[in-house]
């Protein structure tokens, strides 16, 4: 006995852990949302490359996002009629190479990526080597030495050194050395390049990264350079113009280094345009697409891999265990009586379609009318199976009549009566009439109302959006329901209504 109780707890615990662990994995690692209607921003970035083709073979190399701190790529497409394309990794990140033997006239190539925020993505570069000291020749070397000595005196580490340096570079009119190196009105790219040289002179690894700001509805996004400095353990990001540290939230790193974004061999007048568009997308869709790429096994055995109609069926079927669990609670813990164990669950499923109050009214009407006919049939003394069939036929006729009448009267809700499980209703009528005759009307009506109450409660639970969402996205939670059901199967305490039933026994002896 004790052994069996122990086993039940172990089994329930294993089931619950398995279900919760899988759900937690899908939530934490794959980003499936716990709450319904969770949506997240996605950006569609489109790069249009156009150029005039020359007479010979054409090769176009375009940097595309590879390592993107703070963002992940959901999907990408290459549209390039007549061109072969191969994406590959190069030192500055990722590149796609479009190639064609022969082309005529203006060529347009497109790259499109759908990108979403993913804080888990970080730059995973290894530590770079210390750079060699640059030799530019006089008077630049002296200017560099003076500037570096000065900045070094006013800083403590790579971080503060860079900040101080960029501050100086931002004011070329104050310091002659800076003006010599940088010119009077430097651009961000020039600032970054000079800062990189100066940092190299101070033996601090640095590089320029380039990217775009993700903003809504940008027809022409600009490439913005950013300075990356390695402080010995990780990369730090600096705005080359202001010296502010840190990457802006919406900065999408496109490539690193000083290479050109686009190189075209065999073409001329190359032009490149960035367009950014912001959309909202369901988190489930994003998580699902990620699973497709990252976890093929989970993907193949996922509910989302089923055809969409089947998914819709399962969206309903997955609620039946919830209904069954509610029935267990109401019968074994509360102590309500029902006709048939799972009849209320099926009625509750029908309520989903008919709406609750319409459903309750229609169900009561149907059962009452059916009962009236059933009592009349009793007088005809039919055999059981023909009588059951007769009740079933009457139920169908009543359903039709109810639909037609309510339609005539303008109650469109009455039309949904057709969604009731008629066989279940016919059986309910039959059983109710037997109880009515044998145990009296009170008990029959009591049990009938009990069934209706259980149906309404299971409907209320099954209709909770959170429940529907959770069990559709995390069907493995059914294991938790199974565990709870198994545990309830060992519940041997009083039922709530028994407290009422036996209340006399709690009185003082008379």
């Amino acid at each position: 006995m004790r052994g069996r109780g122990y086993r039940v707890w172990v089994i329930a615990a294993l089931l619950a852990i398995a279900g919760l662990a899988l759900a937690a994995y899908k939530w934490r690692e794959l980003g499936f949302p716990i709450l319904p209607k969770a949506q997240t921003e996605v950006w569609t970035v489109e790069v249009t490359v156009s150029f005039d083709s020359g007479p010979g073979p054409i090769k176009a190399n375009l940097y595309i996002p590879g390592l993107t701190p703070g963002f992940a790529i959901l999907e990408e497409n290459f549209v390039s009629r007549g061109f072969g394309f191969t994406p590959n990794y190069v030192s500055g990140g990722r590149q796609v190479q479009w190639a064609r033997r022969r082309a005529r006239g203006l060529q347009s190539l497109y790259y499109r990526a759908v990108i979403y925020k993913d804080p888990a993505q970080t730059e995973s570069d290894t530590t770079p080597p210390f750079p060699a000291k640059p030799r530019l020749g006089e008077p630049f070397d002296t200017a560099i030495d003076v500037l570096i000595d000065d900045v070094r005196a006013r800083s403590a580490d790579a971080e503060s050194f860079t900040e101080e340096l960029l501050k100086r570079l931002g004011q070329p009119d104050v310091d002659q050395n800076v003006e010599l190196l940088l010119g009077a009105a430097p651009t961000a790219a020039e600032s970054a390049r000079v800062a990189q040289t100066l940092l190299a002179a101070a033996r601090i690894p640095a590089r320029t990264i380039r990217g775009i700001y993700l903003q809504d509805q940008q027809r022409r996004a600009e490439i913005v350079p950013w300075l990356e400095v390695h402080d010995g353990t990780r990369w730090l990001y600096f705005d080359p113009l202001t010296g502010n540290q840190g990457l802006p939230d919406n900065f999408l790193l496109w490539w690193t280094g000083d290479d050109d974004l686009l190189e075209v061999d065999g073409g001329s007048d190359a032009e490149i345009r960035f367009a950014v568009q912001r959309n909202v997308m369901s988190r489930i869709d994003i998580a699902q697409r990620r699973v497709e790429e990252s976890d093929p096994i989970l993907n193949q055995f996922s509910l989302f891999a089923l055809p969409i109609q089947t998914q819709a069926v399962y969206a309903v079927l997955l609620l039946i265990p919830i209904g069954a669990f509610v029935v267990v609670l109401l019968r074994n813990v509360i102590g309500l009586q029902t006709f048939g164990t799972f009849m209320p669950v099926l009625i509750a499923l029908a309520f989903r379609e008919t709406q609750l109050w319409w459903g309750a009214i229609l169900f009561s009407t149907l059962v009452s009318l059916g009962l009236a006919f059933r009592f009349y049939l009793e007088r005809l003394r039919l055999l059981l199976v023909p009588r059951l069939s007769a009740v079933l036929i009457i139920v169908v006729i009543l359903m039709l009549a109810l639909s037609i009448i309510s339609h005539r009267l303008g109650f469109e809700g009455g039309l949904s009566v057709a969604l009731f499980p008629m066989v279940i209703i016919a059986m309910t009528i039959e059983r109710m009439s037997v109880v009515w005759e044998e145990r009296g009307a009170t008990e029959a009506i009591q049990q009938g109302l009990g069934s209706l109450l259980v149906a309404i409660i299971s409907y209320a639970v099954m209709d909770l959006e959170l429940i529907r969402h959770l069990f559709f996205v995390f069907p493995e939670l059914l294991l938790v329901v199974l565990a709870a059901t198994i545990l309830l199967g060992r519940y041997s305490g009083y039922r709530l209504l028994e407290l009422y039933r036996f209340r006399e026994l709690a009185q003082k002896d008379d």
Partner: protein, 324 residues
């Protein structure tokens, strides 16, 4: 609410979940259920074991045989038709007499007359399984109608009072008698308004009755006092109930016994899932007596078991009185 549950727990009141988990599932093997669920089988077993049951006149097992009803009944004036797989007294038809002028008109316990073809329809309903809780084909049993012992006449309205004895591991541990009333339409079913009356196990004296949830001192239809009556042949009733344990092998059962004026105590049926109302009728929880029996491990025969329980309960009664 929890306080109420706690009080009930302290008083040893058994709940349905606990009854199912701790007693029915543990001591009633499923393979034994058919022995009691099929009353025909129970009756045959009982006859073999020489346990007194109402005489079986005949069985109708298929629709074709329904017309044999007349042959089975013959010229008997009274009989009972019941489904072999019925529960809770459903589907039982009690014929108490026959019209003097028309042989095909039968009288029911409440005085109504019904025709033979109406009885045949009822039999046909039984055979097709209307009252069977498994919902499959069933048989109709036609058997001897028990005539109430005159002892019960003052406290009975129509029908036959039936004594329910709860038997645990062969020890009778609690008993009640169910008295039919007008409200219960002559049926000995507490749900329908019969009175449940607890019985002091050791001496067969009735306690006060319970009607619904109220305590009653007199029978509502006859105004006769209910409490303090000594059930005749009580020891025989207890022994009969105790023997149902060996008969069926069930560790936790309810034996339904009727007192026939000619044949004495008869086993009417045996229930593998006896209800818990017996606690209300006795105003006592079952747990104490169940655990009392759990302490007894010796192999005894039915008579010795009855004696042992009676002794223990009589003793508990006197100590209780001494304490109060």
């Amino acid at each position: 609410m929890f306080a109420l549950a706690k009080t009930l727990r302290r008083r040893g009141v058994l709940g349905l979940n606990e009854r199912n988990a701790q007693f029915i599932m543990r001591y009633n093997e499923r393979r034994l259920y058919p022995l009691v669920d099929n009353k025909l089988l129970t009756k045959r077993l009982a006859i073999e074991a020489d346990i007194a049951v109402p005489e079986l006149y005949g069985v109708i097992g298929n629709q074709h045989d329904v017309r044999r009803l007349g042959d089975i009944v013959g010229d008997r004036r009274d009989f009972v038709v019941k489904p072999a797989h019925g529960t809770g007294g459903d589907g039982i038809l009690v014929v108490t007499g026959r019209s003097a002028r028309q042989q095909h008109l039968y009288q029911l316990a409440n005085g109504d007359f019904i025709s033979e073809s109406e009885i045949e329809h009822h039999v046909s309903n039984i055979v097709s399984g209307q009252y069977s809780f498994v919902g499959t084909r069933d048989s109709a049993m036609i058997e001897y109608r028990v005539e109430t012992d005159p002892f019960f006449a003052p406290v009975t309205f129509q029908g036959v009072p039936d004594i329910r004895v709860l038997v645990y591991k062969g020890y009778p541990i609690m008993a009640m008698v169910r008295l039919p009333t007008r409200r219960s339409r002559g049926k000995a079913n507490l749900h329908q308004g019969a009175i449940g009356v607890g019985i002091a196990l050791h001496d067969g004296k009735t306690l006060n009755g319970v009607l619904g949830n109220d305590i009653v001192y007199e029978h509502p239809d006859t105004d006769e006092p209910i409490g303090g009556l000594t059930i005749p042949l009580w020891q025989e009733c207890l022994t009969l109930a105790a023997r149902c344990h060996e008969l069926t092998g069930l560790g936790y059962l309810g034996a339904d016994i009727v007192l026939d004026r000619f044949n004495g105590p008869l086993i009417l049926e045996i229930n593998a899932r006896p209800g818990l109302n017996i606690q209300i009728a006795n105003r006592a929880g079952l747990q104490n007596r169940l655990s009392l029996v759990n302490d007894w491990t010796e192999e005894l025969d039915a008579d010795a078991k009855v004696a042992r329980v009676c002794e223990a309960i009589a003793q508990a009664g006197t100590t209780e009185k001494a304490e109060t």
